[in-house]
């Protein structure tokens, strides 16, 4: 009986982490549904980007209020993991405050966790007010209805509860320490929970232990539950922001990739000696190369990683000139749609014993409409605005490529423009021979 709590704890831990690991496997499988892309270049720069952008939060502070509050929650989250480690060790070993022998350092650590926990509560409350009372524009866009709205609030509630449980636990512990109750080592400094502690004054030792244990258990179970909530939530960014900034593009933003499959075709076309009929028939006559993207499997895995990393903050959308002027395009929606479709494809694969079975749907039209795609000015505002190096523009461009090269479905005006370039070497119907006329004109 004595070891029952330890056993229960280990079971909870194994279940919690096991289920999470299963989801991570699914996540990785889904991301790998994307086409391969070589991102093995310039590793020093990639590490630097990750350190600066994800670890250093440099792009968060472009918007100072949200940026500052986010840094509090972020630092709180990172630092409090030391506390979580202690809780896990205590849970397994049946000890109490196993790090206590650290002495003054321990006091300092506990004190800083408490201060951070308090600041996180303040930040979370302000975040909640911004979403629900002040009603910031970017949280009210059409794509934010339903689950995304609920998800955003749920995260705030969970964080609030976890922080309160942590402080309650410490407050009860503080009282027990004062009463010299066995097992409750005198350790730690409680600059915040000392103000909660008076509420527990005069309670019996057993009641105090009950409060302390309940808060302790709910706190760690809450953390395990939250860990497993991540996969289903925009909160996944707390993990994926790191690989995502590492794999983010290192090219100048204006540089779009030159499709290699097209280069080969163009070389054939431009080579006067090429004999199209002499091309050897490939043995593995697989499907012919598809130009551009109409579904998630046509995108590359970094674009799919982007979709899972998106935390729906909407900074991209609020900077988007098309969105600002009332057009249907929202870069955030492009990312959310991509993730939703990828999840759908993943579930399809799970339901069909590891093989995707055609569901008559695709990312194009069923999720993202051509109207959204054609509204983009390729200005890169969304790419610049993203605090975690997501590139919605690359998805928009790949889908335009599909519309134009596979479906010939460009707007008429653009077809005219392209016809002009093809015939006259200019987007307007002027003769190439007139290109130098401006010299003589007044």
């Amino acid at each position: 009986m004595q070891y029952l709590p330890n056993i229960l704890f280990v079971i909870a831990l194994v279940l919690g982490i096991g289920f999470f690991a299963k989801n991570v496997k699914r996540l990785s499988r889904n991301i790998k549904l994307g086409r391969d892309v070589d991102v093995s270049d310039n590793k020093p720069q990639r590490w630097k980007n990750m350190a600066k952008i994800a670890l250093g939060q440099t792009k968060m502070v472009v918007r100072p209020i949200a940026g500052f509050l986010h840094i509090i929650v972020y630092v709180g989250f990172v630092i409090i993991n030391i506390e979580v480690l202690e809780i896990i060790l205590d849970g397994i070993l049946g000890t109490h405050r196993v790090f206590a022998p650290l002495g003054a350092l321990y006091d300092f650590l506990i004190a800083s966790f408490e201060v951070l926990a308090f600041l996180v509560i303040v930040a979370v409350v302000i975040f909640w007010l911004r979403r629900n009372v002040i009603k910031l524009q970017r949280f009210l866009k059409p794509e934010m209805k339903g689950w995304p709205k609920k998800d955003g609030n749920l995260i705030l509630y969970i964080e609030l509860v976890l922080m309160f449980l942590f402080l309650t636990m410490n407050a009860a512990d503080y009282q027990l320490q004062q009463l010299n109750v066995a097992h409750y080592t005198k350790a730690g400094m409680f600059p915040v929970s000392q103000f909660i502690a008076p509420l527990f004054e005069g309670l019996s030792t057993s009641t105090l232990i009950l409060i302390e244990r309940t808060a302790w258990w709910l706190h760690i179970l809450g953390i395990l539950a939250f860990l497993n909530y991540l996969y289903y939530s925009k909160h996944l960014h707390i993990l994926l922001a790191f690989p995502n900034t590492y794999y983010g593009s290192l090219r100048p933003q204006g540089q779009f990739d030159n499709l290699e499959s097209v280069t080969n075709e163009v070389k054939l076309m431009m080579d006067p000696d090429a004999d199209p009929f002499a091309a050897p028939v490939e043995d593995d006559a697989g499907e012919p190369e598809k130009f551009g993207a109409s579904d998630v499997s046509d995108l590359n895995w970094v674009q799919l990683l982007n979709a899972y990393t998106c935390t729906e903050c909407g900074r991209c959308t609020s900077e988007c000139p098309a969105n600002q002027t009332g057009k249907k395009l929202s870069p955030r929606k492009i990312m959310m749609d991509t993730r939703d479709r990828l999840e759908e494809v993943g579930k399809n694969i799970d339901a069909n014993k590891g093989k995707f079975t055609d569901d008559g749907k695709q990312l194009l039209n069923d999720y993202i409409t051509p109207e959204e795609l054609w509204a983009c000015t390729s200005c890169n505002a969304c790419v610049e605005a993203c605090p975690v190096s997501i590139d919605p523009l690359s998805i928009i461009m790949d889908m335009r490529r599909y519309l134009v090269m596979e479906q010939s479905a460009a707007p008429t005006d653009l077809n005219n423009m392209m016809g002009n370039i093809e015939n006259n070497g200019a987007p307007w119907p002027f003769n190439q021979m007139d290109r130098l006329n401006w010299v003589e004109e007044n």
Partner: protein
């Protein structure tokens, strides 16, 4: 203003056994659009004044393929690119200057992957260098104290991190540079990029160029400076839409410098 300008072509120089220091890539707008042609001429006058050894491709120049690529037609883009690269490589071109950020971006960033490697500079960067070398000057104070706001072209600014060259030039005019609420890396698009120039905008509340013009007007400028022929068109249209064309001029940086120089 003198209208005589010297514009040698690569073909002429090549026939004479000469190689210019830099190729001036005029671009489609600069060649055909009536408003943009004035920018081209202003820039050429400055090149002449500074005795820059340059040439243009003239009838051998073709669209870089930028609008085709941004519209999704990678085939057409690469056909254009490969053709242009063949011409430029045949002339052994090393350095390219252009007044169009779209041509600038494409030749600088997308041509290398297809075999075209050149040093590419935007005309504002080139002019800044000429000024620093003392080859041109901006005396006379024509723009002294005038309120000028600069609209960052997406394909120059965000796309390639060129923010300061055009601003330095405006400051050199002794003008008062006023920034819009969205500027530099957070600049708002003029609405023409990504091949939007060649189609009607999708449905919305207003056009992007109107929104951008409103931001420009908030700074109460006498001149809206641009560094892109497409931005120039969009901002000019915006100013006309607000019926401010009598009091606010939209001018390219090259035109500002050329006017200051009385060219």
């Amino acid at each position: 203003m003198s209208n005589e300008i010297k514009v040698p072509t690569m073909a002429e120089l090549s026939a004479a056994g000469q190689q210019p220091e830099v190729l001036f890539w005029v671009g489609c707008a600069g060649s055909f659009d009536d408003r943009a042609k004035k920018i081209t001429k202003a820039f050429v006058k400055l090149l002449n004044k500074a005795n820059v050894n340059f040439a243009v491709l003239g009838t051998e120049e073709s669209c870089t393929g930028d609008p085709a690529k941004r519209a999704g037609n990678e085939f057409l883009f690469q056909m254009q690119a490969v053709t242009n690269i063949e011409v430029m490589n045949a002339y052994e071109i090393k350095k390219v200057v252009t007044a169009c950020p779209h041509c600038f971006n494409t030749i600088k960033n997308e041509y290398p992957g297809l075999g075209g490697n050149y040093e590419v500079v935007h005309h504002t960067q080139f002019l800044k260098q000429l000024l620093e070398e003392g080859k041109i000057s901006v005396e006379g104070g024509k723009f002294k104290g005038k309120r000028i706001t600069f609209h960052d072209p997406c394909y120059l600014g965000r796309a390639n991190n060129v923010y300061e060259a055009p601003r330095d030039l405006i400051r050199k005019l002794d003008a008062e540079l006023v920034e819009m609420k969205s500027c530099k890396s957070r600049g708002l698009c003029c609405g023409a990029g990504g091949a939007q120039m060649f189609k009607e905008p999708e449905k919305g509340n207003k056009d992007v160029n109107i929104e951008r013009t409103e931001q420009a007007l908030e700074t109460q400028p006498e001149i809206i400076a641009a560094g892109c022929p497409f931005c120039n068109t969009m901002m000019t249209d915006g100013v006309k839409n607000k019926e401010k064309e009598a009091s606010i001029a939209v001018m390219d940086i090259a035109e500002l410098i050329a006017t200051a120089e009385d060219l």
